[in-house]
Structure formats: C-alpha cells, structure tokens
C-alpha cells in the first residue's frame, strides 16, 4: 500500500436533536496515492455526511481528517486546492453557461490563465460535452449536467477526487466513458478517489477496495472480490416455463429455502459442492428449463446481505413467494 494521502481517524458526527442522530460513528480509514476507494452503504448509512466532512463543509463532532499529512481544519484552503469534488446532486449555477461555470471553478482551483481555456476544452471533449458548452445549465438534461459536474471535478488537476455517484443518470455508453476516464486519471496522473455509487457492477469494475458503511459505522473494508466471496455459496437461477406446479413440488422436496421469483422462476442459494446434485434433482423431477444460470456471489449480494435484504443464503429460510 502506498503512503496515505488522506487519513481519517476516529471520525464521528452527531447531529443534535431529540434524540441526537449519530450519522457517522467513529470511522477510520486511509486513501493511498492512486487508490480508488468505494464508499458503499444503504441510504442513511453516512456516506454523504462523511464526504461533507472530508470537504470541511460540515464540521465533525470529533476525530481528525488529514490530507497530505496536514490537518484539514487548520490547512483547509491549502488542501482543497488539490481536492476535486463532484456530486450528481450538487448542481452548478443554473443561469450560467457550461463554459462560464467551468471557468469559475478553474479560477477557484487557481488553474494558470494560459491553461484555463485549453483545460476546459479538453475536458468537455473528453466527456462529449463540447456541443452544449454555450448552453445554460438549466437547459441541460440530467445526464449532460452530470458530465459537466465531472468536468468541474477534474478541471483543477486534483490529486484526490471525491465523487458522489458520478454516473447517476448517465446513459450506459457515457457511464462507460466516465469509468474509463476515472481509471485513466488514476493510471496516468495517480489521482486518488473516493467513490460512492449505487451500481455495484461499476464499483467492482472501478474500485480497488470498498468501505462498507451501515448506520454510520464501517462494517467491512476489502476488495470488491473479497467482499463478494465472503458470501458463502453459489446461486442457481432457473426458469421452467409453464411448469409452476412441478416447480413448487420440487421446491418442497429439494430446496425449501428457494426464493420463487414468479410462477415459473426460482433462485436457490446452495453450497458449491451441492450444485450438481441440485441440478440433477431438477432433471429427475422432469422440470425443463428455458434458462439456467449458476453464479458466484457478487458485490450486490454482499450489499443485500449487509443491509438484510438477502434472505436465502445457505441455511437460511427463504422468503415466502
């Protein structure tokens, strides 16, 4: 692991109230040079609160945040020159054009005047946004706005980028382009990133490691692959068209923990070594499948398990159909 550019120590945020709300509860983590760290968790887990504290737009109740070995509270202005932030939900100025917005953020990031226009143009081209550079933000679609926000994040040559759902509301091809850009920034310029996202496949593709937050606490940190493989078992999914009765009979006999998705599809979690026997029992029962898939657990399964939405891992009771 490379030296930490960002170090978070025992960070805690309690919002006053009756009762007080503990939004972030004693979390510690670090972000190394060139590392992309995913921040995952269900709604209300504390991801956005954590990011706001990392930007110093929200003060922590206790704990410390340091970038490049400097304390954020004491050296805020110096540090934030090298930190880019973008959220699909924090809009830019609506009545300004794309170009004007980016010029302002390039100036705020102290980009030298000789490079400013060139930098803005390069980013707009990269995100396929040149065609609407003269348009006001209010005239753009959600996807176009998200692309402009991404340009804003990188306009100041950040060393660390905090990206809050950067591909929300993007078409798949543009989202793909964004992921490629993010990886390119890391590869070419060593930009480190903290990345929140609700698309688990994207997190698996982009992030080196994932922090999983629930109720303000970090409950897991590992690579996406390791987190996924921490879910034991294999998922067998199949569809037996027009054989609903036979399917229910088979479930009653061989897989009481199966989840029936609809009248003709089911999903079973089982131990790896049980998979051949399970499929054999299906065949013996005379079920004919139109689809059959055998899958290892994914990060999404981990997410669902952690948020208690996954009912059917081996040994657990299945959800009623």
């Amino acid at each position: 692991m490379s030296a930490a550019l960002l170090q978070v120590q025992s960070l805690r945020k309690v919002f006053p109230g009756k009762p007080p709300v503990v939004a972030v509860d004693d979390i510690s983590f670090s972000l190394g040079a060139g590392e992309i760290l995913g921040l995952l968790g269900p709604n209300g887990a504390g991801k956005t609160t954590t990011i706001q504290m990392l930007l110093s737009t929200l003060r922590s109740t206790s704990g410390s945040i340091s970038y490049f070995g400097m304390d954020l509270e004491r050296h805020r202005s110096e540090i934030l020159k090298y930190v880019g932030y973008g959220s699909a939900y924090a809009a830019l100025v609506w009545r300004l054009s794309v170009e004007e917005n980016l010029e302002i953020y390039a100036r705020l990031a102290c980009v030298p005047w000789r490079e400013r226009a060139q930098r803005v143009t390069a980013l707009l081209e990269r995100f396929d946004a040149s065609s609407f550079r003269k348009k006001q933000m209010s005239e753009l679609s959600a996807g176009q706005r998200t692309r402009v926000v991404l340009c804003k994040v990188f306009v100041g040559y950040p060393k660390i980028a905090l990206l809050d759902e950067p591909t929300a509301s993007l078409d798949p091809d543009v989202a793909h382009e964004v992921r490629a850009f993010v990886k390119h920034q890391r590869r070419e310029y060593g930009v480190s990133m903290l990345y929140t996202c609700h698309n688990m496949a994207e997190v698996e593709e982009v992030c080196d490691e994932v922090l999983f937050l629930t109720k303000g606490k970090i409950i897991a940190r590992d690579t996406p692959q390791a987190l996924a493989s921490s879910i034991a078992g294999t998922r067998v999914r199949f569809t037996a068209s027009g054989q609903g009765e036979k399917l229910l009979l088979w479930i009653a006999r061989h897989a009481p923990g199966a989840v029936v998705k609809d009248e003709e599809s089911a999903e079973v979690w089982t131990e790896d070594e049980q998979v051949p026997a399970l499929i054999e029992s299906l065949i013996k029962e005379g079920l004919q499948f139109s689809r059959l898939s055998v899958e290892r657990a994914s990060l999404e399964d981990f997410f669902l398990q952690m948020t208690k939405k996954q009912p059917a891992s081996p040994g657990e009771a299945g959800e009623a159909p």
Partner: protein, 260 residues
C-alpha cells in the same frame, strides 16, 4: 366550476402563507414601513412655514437615490448568498479552496460595480424627469456615498449571517433588513422629526449623519465634514462587527453542514 377545487387552491396558498415569513412580511412589514416613512415626511413638511420646504423635491429625490446605495449594497450581499442556496451551489463553492473572506471580498466588489450602475441610472433619471441635478452636492458627495455603501455592506453581512445560519426560510431578510434602518436614518426628513427615543437610535446609525449632511449641503452648500467622519467611524466599527458576525454564523452553519 368546482367549489372543492377552488377551496383546494385557497388552502394551498393559505398553508404556504402561514409557513412563509416572506408572505407574512409582505402583508405587514411594507405597509407599516411606507406609512411610517411618508407619515414622518408629511409631518415635517406640514410643520414648515406655510408648508413649504426649500429644495423639497431635491431633498426627497436625493434621499431616494442615495438610499438605494444602502439598500443595493445590502441586497447584493444577501441575495448573492441566497443565489448559492437557490442553485444548490454553496457546497460546490466552499468545497474549493475559497475562503469565506474571499467570498465576502468578491460580493463587496460586485456590489461596488452595481452601485455605479444604480447611481448613474438614478441621477440621470432625476435629471431627465425632473430637471434636478443631484451633482449640486459636488465632489463632497463621494465620501457620503462611500459611507452609505459601507452601511449597506454591514447590513448585508448581518442579514447574510442570519441567512447562512438559518437558511432560506428567512430569506426575506435580504429585502427587509436594509429598509429597517430607513425610518431611523432620517432619509426623507430631518432627525428632529423623529420621537426622542427614535432619535437615540438614529444617532447610533452612520446613515443618519450622511442624510443630515446632505440636507445641509443642499441648504447652504457647505459639507459638514464632522458628520462624514462620524459616519465613516461608525461604519468601520459596524462593518468590522458584521464581518465577525458573518464569520461566526458561517462556522455555526458548518456544524449543521453547508448543504441544504
């Protein structure tokens, strides 16, 4: 026509009205303010010999134009802050290396530029419509204008401090706060028209000395430099305090977060 639907619309606006400081203020504050200002101005005019005040039109119009300096100065600061709220852009701005003092300097500069526009338009309109020349005040007008602008800034930072702390729900302060000082500032009438208790408040305001001074220049042509100095001194004091207040309230807001 459906009575149910009409009633639904009545309820929709009534519920909003009861939860909205803006609408409540519109219904109560502005009528009271207008009645106070123009009532006191009328009282002053009526107490003059035969109801005649020398240079009355120039005094009133100079008051109108120069009060704009205070109001615009204040408005520019608080509305520019509100713009960031309305655009959801406050977090974006302060997630950069921008400091609160840099932001303050920026909005003061914007206010200065817009003030120039307001003054030019105001003075030109008075000259074109009424053939009255506000430049009769001469160059001595400049320190008065500077002082009024500082007053606008201190009011603006004070109201912005409250807005940043409590959010958009008190956005009406951006329009209301500057005008709160108007009845006490003797903009359209001399200080002695005010009741005793109000005169005590008025003497603590830098704007009072400016408008009293302007009336003196119109009356006898000589600028009262002691008024300029008192006004500038008070403004330095209040502006310093309001900057400190804004800074404190900004930090208070950070405990809750700059995001909406």
């Amino acid at each position: 026509m459906s009575f149910q639907r009409i009633w639904a619309i009545v309820l929709r606006y009534c519920y909003y009205f009861l939860r909205s400081w803006d609408r409540l203020t519109d219904s109560v504050y502005w009528p009271i303010l207008d009645i106070t200002l123009w009532g006191l101005a009328s009282k002053w005019i009526l107490t003059q010999q035969e109801g005649k005040v020398p240079h009355l039109a120039l005094i009133l119009l100079t008051g109108v134009v120069f009060w704009q300096v205070v109001w615009r100065g204040s408005y520019e600061i608080s509305v520019n802050l509100l713009e960031e709220f309305w655009n959801d852009n406050l977090v974006n701005l302060f997630a950069t290396s921008l400091t609160k003092y840099e932001w303050m300097a920026g909005v003061m500069l914007v206010g200065l530029v817009k003030l120039f526009l307001t003054l030019v338009v105001g003075i030109a309109t008075v000259w074109l419509f009424y053939s009255l020349n506000i430049f009769v005040l001469g160059w001595s007008m400049l320190p008065f204008v500077a002082s009024l602008l500082m007053s606008g800034w201190f009011v603006g930072f004070f109201s912005s401090g409250l807005i940043i702390r409590y959010g958009e729900k008190i956005q009406t302060l951006a329009w209301v706060m500057g005008w709160m000082l108007a009845p006490f500032s003797a903009v359209f009438y001399p200080l002695n028209v005010l009741p005793e208790w109000a005169q005590v408040i008025a003497r603590c305001l830098p704007t009072t000395y400016v408008f009293e001074g302007m009336r003196q220049i119109i009356a006898n042509g000589s600028p009262p430099w002691d008024y300029v100095l008192i006004s500038l001194g008070l403004n330095v004091l209040y502006l310093g305090a309001s900057v400190a207040f804004f800074s404190y309230m900004f930090e208070q807001r950070r405990w809750r977060g700059l995001a909406k």
